[in-house]
């Protein structure tokens, strides 16, 4: 039975890889600078659409962490983002007008790029509104982390999505280009997360946070997943299954300790609740390109009309990774 099960998962993985291979035709090279990639470089992979305003800070943040090359899929931006990225010396860019939904929300494209360029590298797969925080990220570059993971032969590193929000209505303070989004959206929920284990893929399913609290209080099962595994020492046989929530082979999802200990982990600070959100939600609802009939966006749209305030008196103000560590949202594990 177990053999049968793992064989089925193997087929599933192969199917996803074949899908990625097929979808490669949808990607048109805009700027291919992948020949600059050197062995040992940590690479970042992202899909985006109309994020021009956020790009400068995004690139700067990850360059500071020590990301050496960005591999980005642009899904039909019309706000000048494509041109902006094209001018960056450390960005390789692919463009596509194809359906985001039909490429499993960009994962087929990313799986292809990972397969083609990620093999043998540590790869970080994030959205343009996700900012990776790991233990000692203020004093040690990402290479220190990946070297350390290498000595323990750890292949994947988890980082839970932490929704950040401003105090007051979400669209009240406009975000200006180049600004740190967490100057505005600096609040988060520290301890209302629920975890269950996905038996099939062995990953943890984490839900909760401000989105579950305000938009899904009556229907918690539909609340968005917050578990992510963004940092992986890529091998060409790996595949992301659903966003970066889980992957195959399953062993990569086992990023948690089951005997009471703590493995090391990070967080992805999520700058989603930042102006201009209302306009974005409208547009995404029009496009109908998101997960589960865009139910998440429908919930936002219903709530946003009443100018919701995600902030409450128990919200924590973000300081640094040590704070997240003390609150138990992430862990150093045995890295000291």
């Amino acid at each position: 039975m177990r053999i049968w099960k793992s064989y089925r998962l193997r087929l599933k993985r192969k199917r996803y890889l074949a899908r990625a291979f097929r979808k490669r035709r949808e990607l048109k090279v805009v700027a291919n600078r992948t020949d600059q990639i050197k062995p040992g470089d940590v690479l970042l992979f992202a899909t985006l659409r109309n994020e021009r305003v956020r790009l400068p800070y995004f690139l700067r943040y990850y360059r500071n962490l020590g990301i050496r090359h960005f591999l980005i899929v642009d899904n039909g931006s019309d706000d000048g983002g494509l041109e902006y990225l094209c001018d960056q010396k450390d960005v390789s860019l692919w463009g596509t007008q194809a359906s985001y939904k039909k490429s499993r929300f960009g994962m087929d494209w990313i799986n292809w790029l990972l397969l083609r360029h990620g093999h043998g590298h540590w790869t970080l797969t994030v959205d343009p509104d996700e900012f990776f925080v790991y233990p000692f990220c203020d004093t040690r570059p990402i290479r220190a982390l990946t070297d350390w993971l290498d000595t323990y032969e750890i292949q994947s590193f988890p980082a839970m999505l932490l929704d950040m929000y401003p105090k007051g209505p979400i669209d009240a303070v406009p975000y200006t280009e180049g600004q740190n989004p967490f100057d505005i959206a600096c609040w988060f929920d520290s301890g209302n997360y629920t975890i269950s284990k996905n038996k099939q893929f062995q990953n943890l399913w984490i839900q909760g946070g401000p989105r579950a609290r305000t938009f899904f209080a009556d229907n918690p099962r539909d609340a968005p997943s917050l578990n992510k595994i963004p940092l992986v020492k890529w091998h060409r046989s790996y595949a992301y299954i659903s966003s970066t929530h889980m992957m195959l082979p399953r062993s990569l999802n086992m990023t948690y300790d089951e005997l009471g200990g703590e493995k090391s982990s990070g967080c992805l600070l999520h700058a989603k609740f930042l102006s201009p959100l209302t306009a974005k939600v409208e547009e995404e609802l029009q496009r109908q390109q998101h997960f589960a009939e865009s139910r998440e966006y429908k919930a936002y749209s219903d709530a946003l009309s009443s100018e919701p305030d995600l902030w409450c008196k128990w919200s924590e103000k973000y300081i640094n990774w040590r704070q997240l560590e003390i609150l138990g949202l992430m862990s150093k594990g045995n890295w000291a």
């Binding site: 980082a159 975890i195 089951e258 200990g261 703590e262 493995k263 045995n334």
Partner: protein, 565 residues
């Protein structure tokens, strides 16, 4: 007299070269061994980088594989070269390419000058070693290890198992007492040459060739034969974790390393620019004769290992999700559950909050909403009062609540009307203090104005739920501090149990309870129970309430507090 350094390098040769240059310029000769698996290109680059220094030389290269004799061979050859070429060397210091000197060479020389006959080598008998990984200590010396642990793990394990099964043993050469220790040593010329020029060396080498991880035992064992005074500790600060991997130092360890007063530290992350800059910069040669004192660093690393192995009790998070019974603490702090109290007493939570320094909630698991203290809609950690969210994962709700409010004891009310999903969890949690007045759920029914048939059905339902809960609380698996009274017993003398519970919650409070909580008026309760019986339902859990002999309501009727003698 001076000290000579042997450096064993296999990666980050540029860093090793920097360190070698530092030592050589300070007047200490250096012999470098570079692993033969390092490419010729990198090797010649290093050669060239150090060509201008005449007291730096390179020794014959061996292909070094972890856990094999090749590492010992490399050290032997480099030692011979050191002793031959540099007559002024009295102590030989074995270091690695990822070592970093923390104090000037002068201070090390002075330190060794003060102890000219002392060998610094960690050397412990196998019986006293606690740090070996995989449980192999003495067997390292009595079994054969022809297979590589890293590359041929399957064969390695199977061959070990086979030898154990057949009881095969190797004979340890006469006169040798196996000792283990850190492979980074500092030996005197006298001891080292005695080991290298031993007439029996060929025999010893042959024996150690098949010992597992001989670099941790060869010199450590043989030094015991010749050394006049062994200090069984390494001068190199090198910490290993529970998997036998060395802890790594980064830029942010700078102050910690400075204050440790150790001579050499290992292992340094090659890109730790600040560390290399700080410690390789020319410094005023202090006259400090302080002893190395790595306690702070020891504590840092042992805490890290403990975090990895034990974790934080009561925390469930993305990288700590223990299986049932492997939690090492189901919750993070003690808490109290009161069942039936809020039914029997008016405003019990208000009364309790007055007497215990704790946060007193209402029915946290109430069917309609979560009743946080003070009627708040959100609580610590942004826990929501939505019953749907809570019931989606009640255990996560409870553990989060306790975790979020660390430092403040949590108390809450419970009843058979509430969500019952956490009953097994709380009953088996040593942090829980569960006090039950059984049958008190009937009091609200008794005071209700509903149709009696509805009350009867409700009473039957609640009695069944409480019976199930009590069965859990009386099972052999209970770890919580459980107290159960029938309602009849409790109202007989409420102050004594209340005092016991409160003393347990805040043991330091010396104040006796001055005031009992107001009990609801129970006139006619006996008749109510009799009515239930007459309707065919048997109320069992509340104890004995004869008809007509109603419990004497306390203070409430007199309108003034009940005083305890």
């Amino acid at each position: 007299m001076t000290v000579g350094f042997i450096m064993m390098c296999h990666t980050a040769l540029d860093r090793a070269a920097q360190v070698a240059r530092h030592w050589a310029k300070s007047g200490a000769p250096v012999v470098i061994h570079v692993d033969r698996r390092v490419g010729q290109h990198d090797y010649t680059a290093m050669n060239r980088a150090l060509a201008d220094l005449e007291n730096v030389s390179f020794s014959r290269r061996f292909k070094c594989e972890w856990g094999t004799f090749s590492l010992v061979e490399a050290a032997q050859v480099a030692s011979e070269q050191m002793l031959e070429q540099h007559a002024s060397v009295r102590h030989v210091f074995l270091a690695s390419g990822s070592c970093l000197p923390l104090r000037p060479v002068k201070e090390l020389v002075d330190y060794l000058d003060a102890r000219p006959y002392t060998d610094f080598i960690e050397s412990v008998t196998t019986a006293d070693v606690t740090w070996t990984v995989g449980g192999m200590d003495f067997e390292r010396f009595t079994l054969r290890f022809p297979f590589s642990w890293k590359r041929q793990r399957g064969m390695f394990d199977r061959y070990v198992a086979l030898q154990r099964r057949l009881g095969l043993k190797r004979k340890i050469p006469d006169g040798l007492v196996p000792h283990l220790g850190s492979q980074w040593w500092c030996l005197t010329r006298q001891t080292l040459s005695a080991i290298l020029q031993d007439p029996d060396r060929a025999g010893y080498d042959k024996y150690f060739r098949r010992v597992w991880i001989p670099d941790e035992s060869y010199f450590q064992t043989l030094a015991r034969l010749y050394a006049t005074s062994i200090e069984s500790r390494s001068l190199t600060l090198s910490k290993f974790d529970f998997q036998g991997k060395p802890h790594i130092f980064y830029d942010d360890h700078l102050q910690l390393l400075r204050r440790s007063d150790c001579f050499v530290a290992r292992k340094i992350w090659p890109q730790a620019n600040r560390l290399y800059q700080a410690f390789l910069a020319p410094r005023s040669e202090g006259e400090t004769q302080s002893e190395p004192n790595p306690t702070k660093i020891d504590r840092l690393f042992s805490k890290a290992v403990e975090r990895r192995l034990k974790g934080r009790p009561g925390l469930f998070m993305q990288s700590r999700y223990p299986l049932q019974d492997r939690e090492n603490g189901k919750t993070s702090a003690p808490y109290s559950i009161f069942q039936g109290f809020s039914d029997l007493f008016e405003n019990f939570d208000g009364w309790l909050a007055k007497y215990v320094g704790a946060r007193v909630h209402g029915h946290l698991f109430g069917p309609m909403r979560t009743e946080f203290s003070g009627g708040e809609t959100v609580f610590s950690g942004c826990l929501s009062d939505s019953a749907a969210l809570r019931d989606y994962n009640p255990r996560a709700f409870l553990t989060s609540l306790i975790w979020n409010s660390r430092g403040e004891r949590q108390c809450f009310m419970f009843s058979p009307r509430d969500t019952q999903a956490i009953n097994w969890f709380t009953a088996t949690d040593p942090n829980a203090q569960i006090s039950v007045i059984s049958g008190a759920w009937a009091v609200p029914l008794f005071r209700s104005t509903q149709n009696f048939s509805i009350l009867r059905r409700e009473a039957a339902r609640l009695q069944q739920i409480e019976t199930d809960h009590l069965a859990i609380l009386r099972s052999m698996y209970v770890k919580a501090r459980v107290r159960i009274w029938t309602m009849a017993d409790f109202i007989e003398n409420p102050m004594e149990p209340l005092q016991t519970i409160i003393d347990e919650i805040s043991p330091r409070a010396t104040r006796r309870l001055a005031e009992a909580p107001r009990m609801v008026d129970l006139t006619g309760f006996g008749q109510f129970l009799q009515n239930l019986k007459n309707q065919g339902m048997l109320p069992r859990l509340m104890g004995d309430f004869p008809v007509g002999d109603d419990p004497r309501p306390n203070s409430s009727r007199r309108g003034r507090p009940y005083l305890v003698k």
